[in-house]
């Protein structure tokens, strides 16, 4: 869907982005991860031409972006930024209607679609339509920002630290909601963040950058278990255990899980794609700790395992050992 070929961006003699090539598949969420100044935001802005290329080429949906007028291009790409960037002199309704207005939609269509998007983002229209941004909480503003980007249903959404300005609690809940939002499931998303956990939580693939160059581009699992260089290893070091729990799924540790002793129906059932971290959270939630058995729903059959946190972690340890042994 998005294709970057040997992309370089120079500011004077300084290369903010150097020779970056990557591809984002349709429906995929690619996270650009790195510390500030690593070139991730510049890379994002090159895609919607808020920054202009020094060399290389970028194509979106097969069309070279330089063949289109920047405004026309941007109207096709959703754009969400840190702190939402809502227009303070516009109401929520007018903020959401910005792009439809630019696209020349009819009022009726805009109003209908705005309300749809607001409902979807849990912003009851009758309550919020006529409010101004300063009357909203940070989380609500970010929802409006998201609604504004999604109202025209663009196939591609670019996000620059979309949750960066929120407090940790709001941030977590919005992120969670965002992850499961049906409207975003089939979008091609490029998301910039400096938050490692966020990157691993949201990304189908992660592009870790430093010094304007790609250090590693791969699935979360690849980054955790097959770091390309010392930089990647050091970058993930601090959160390594949590990341391992996050990237390993029940399917990965199935071989090491003890089978259930009894044939009694299991307390809960989890799909095999559930991350270990998620499973642990579910286990700690459960009131019926006396009955630690769970069923893992596999593609082929449902297998039943007797499981508690300790058993799960033991299985993880074995799985990690095995994964590293393959290197």
């Amino acid at each position: 869907m998005i294709h970057l070929q040997n992309v370089t961006k120079n500011y004077g003699s300084l290369a903010a982005v150097h020779d970056v090539s990557l591809e984002v598949a349709e429906g995929e969420t690619l996270v650009l991860l790195g510390t500030s100044g690593c070139g991730k935001t510049t890379t994002l802005k090159l895609i919607n031409r808020l920054e202009e290329l020094s060399s290389g080429s970028i194509a979106v949906a097969g069309k070279d972006i330089r063949q289109q007028r920047p405004e026309e291009l941007r109207r096709q790409l959703g754009y969400v930024i840190q702190g939402a960037g809502l227009f303070p002199h516009y109401t929520v309704q007018e903020n959401i209607a910005v792009v439809p207005r630019l696209l020349g939609w009819r009022k009726q269509q805009t109003a209908q679609r705005s309300e749809e998007v607001m409902e979807m983002l849990h912003l009851p229209p009758q309550e919020y339509l006529h409010k101004h941004p300063h009357q909203l909480s940070g989380g609500q503003q970010q929802r409006v920002g998201l609604a504004r980007a999604l109202v025209s249903d663009p196939p591609v959404v670019l996000m620059d630290e979309p949750f960066g300005a929120l407090d940790p609690i709001t941030r977590h809940s919005i992120r969670h909601e965002f992850k499961h939002l049906p409207a975003l499931q089939d979008k091609t998303i490029v998301l910039v963040t400096h938050d490692v956990l966020e990157a691993f939580d949201l990304g189908n693939r992660i592009c870790l950058m430093d010094g304007g160059q790609i250090q590693q581009l791969g699935t979360p699992k690849e980054l955790v278990f097959r770091p390309a260089n010392d930089f990647v290893r050091r970058f993930l070091q601090q959160h390594l255990f949590q990341l391992q729990l996050q990237v390993l799924t029940l399917w990965d540790i199935l071989p090491y899980l003890p089978p259930a002793a009894s044939n009694a129906p299991a307390a809960r059932m989890l799909p095999e794609s559930t991350s270990v971290l998620e499973a642990l959270q579910q286990l700690s939630d459960t009131r019926a700790a006396a009955e630690p058995s769970i069923t893992v729903r596999c593609k082929t059959s449902d297998a039943k395992y007797n499981l508690d946190a300790a058993g799960l972690l033991a299985a993880v340890a074995k799985a990690i050992q095995t994964l590293h042994a393959h290197d």
């Binding site: 808020l50 941007r74 930024i81 840190q82 960037g85 002199h89 910005v98 920002g145 670019l158």
Partner: protein, 521 residues
Amino acid sequence: MTDLQAFFDFVRLQSGKLLEQTLEHIGLTMLSLLLAILIGLPLGLLITRYKKASGTVLGTASILQTIPSVALLGFLIPVLGIGPQSAIFALFLYSLLPIIRNAYTGVMQVDDTIKEAARGMGMTDWQLLTRVELPLALPVIFAGIRTAAVLNVGVATLAAYIAAGGLGEFIFGGIALNNTPMILAGAIPAALLAVLFDFVLGRLQHLRVRRLWHTSLLLLVLLPVLSSFYLLPKSGSLQAGLSAEFAGRADGYPSLQKNYGLNLNTVIMGPALVYKAVHEGDVDVIDGYSTDGKIKTFGLRVLVDDAHTFPPYYAAFVVRQPVLQQHPELQKVLNMLSGTINDSVMTALNYKVDFGKQSPARVAHDFLQQRGLWRPLRQGTGATITLGSKIFTEQYILSQMLAQLIRGYTNLQVASKTGLGGTKICFDALAAGEIDVYPEYTGTGLQVILNTPPALADSLSKNKDLVYSYVKQEFQKQYNLLWLPPLGFNNTYALMMREQQAGALHIRTISDLKNYVISHR
């Protein structure tokens, strides 16, 4: 209390003129403000896009702001002439800085995130400016307009100095005539206007952005309407430019209106500017002094005061009686100049000093020689006679003539105390015996020194001989001072026109002028 009463009386009496000046003032302020907005706002917005030019533009506007307002008018007069165009342009230049600067700052202070969001969503630069930056910058822009408006109300009072009208006319007139109620009648409305503009624009500035947007459109309609107060057509064919003092004094323009029924289309300006203004054709009729050297310089015709409305100001030497008694030989010398100098001769002598750059002594010498009055100096060793003079050319020349005559015809010595300032200082010095003789004018003696009641002064002023004999009698009685026979010229108020124009229109007297004005209304 009496001042306050006098102020209200003045306002009631002059309410028509006050209203006219207030409207002119509003018009002047608003017109220049409108121009400044039309030029400054786009310029301020432009430099947000061409930031390299912002330093130059803001710097230039700042420098313009630092030029003292009177000096700015002075710079503009040679280029744009005397009159409204210079005043409006000066006010326009003053308003530029707050408007450009606030437009620039207003747009620049819009949050970068918001600008980026706008561009990221696909707004063109024009859409970004008109839909996002401009609305968000409006409060700051309004603050600039407010500053400019309040500043302009104050500076616009100076417009009266260069014949552009406004409330400054009363202020300058009041200062020239030492008339406090008149000053207040100009200053108080000007202050109230400033407060009013500040209040109204201050309220607007704090409106919500959307309302402000509508208001600014309304303002763009309203400003030209207010400006038009100034451009209301003025009737009449000849334009008069009068000094504030002449326009306000009872024996000045008001007496012409009363006695001739003359109704000119007048503007007020600084006394130093009237000659230049008439010379350059900015105005057609001015007031001045009948023996001023500038009459010759600028080729002006003094209109004959055929109804004798201007009080006579015949010059004569005033001398202390005891001096004459001690030195009887002085009497003959002092009388030598009597009746020898008429208006045009005095004008020519003044001209030689003021524009021919000759010294008063040289001019006096040449004149005496030409009249056959000059004699070589005797290097006398007698008593010393102290001569005084006021601080202007004519008095210096007269004082020099007298000094040379005394030295040529007597053995007395002469000391000069010239440049004794105004009438009061000269007269006090004479009365105290610090000087022995100085040239004075009959009208001044009547009005300023004797403080003659207006009714009596008016009736006397109809006849120059009556004035002379009255002051002579009173000076002798009250101060023991003697008025010698008049020298011949009358340095009084006069109306003047360009010689060429006056000739073409066949205007010789003030009555001719009145008839011309009436027939061409």
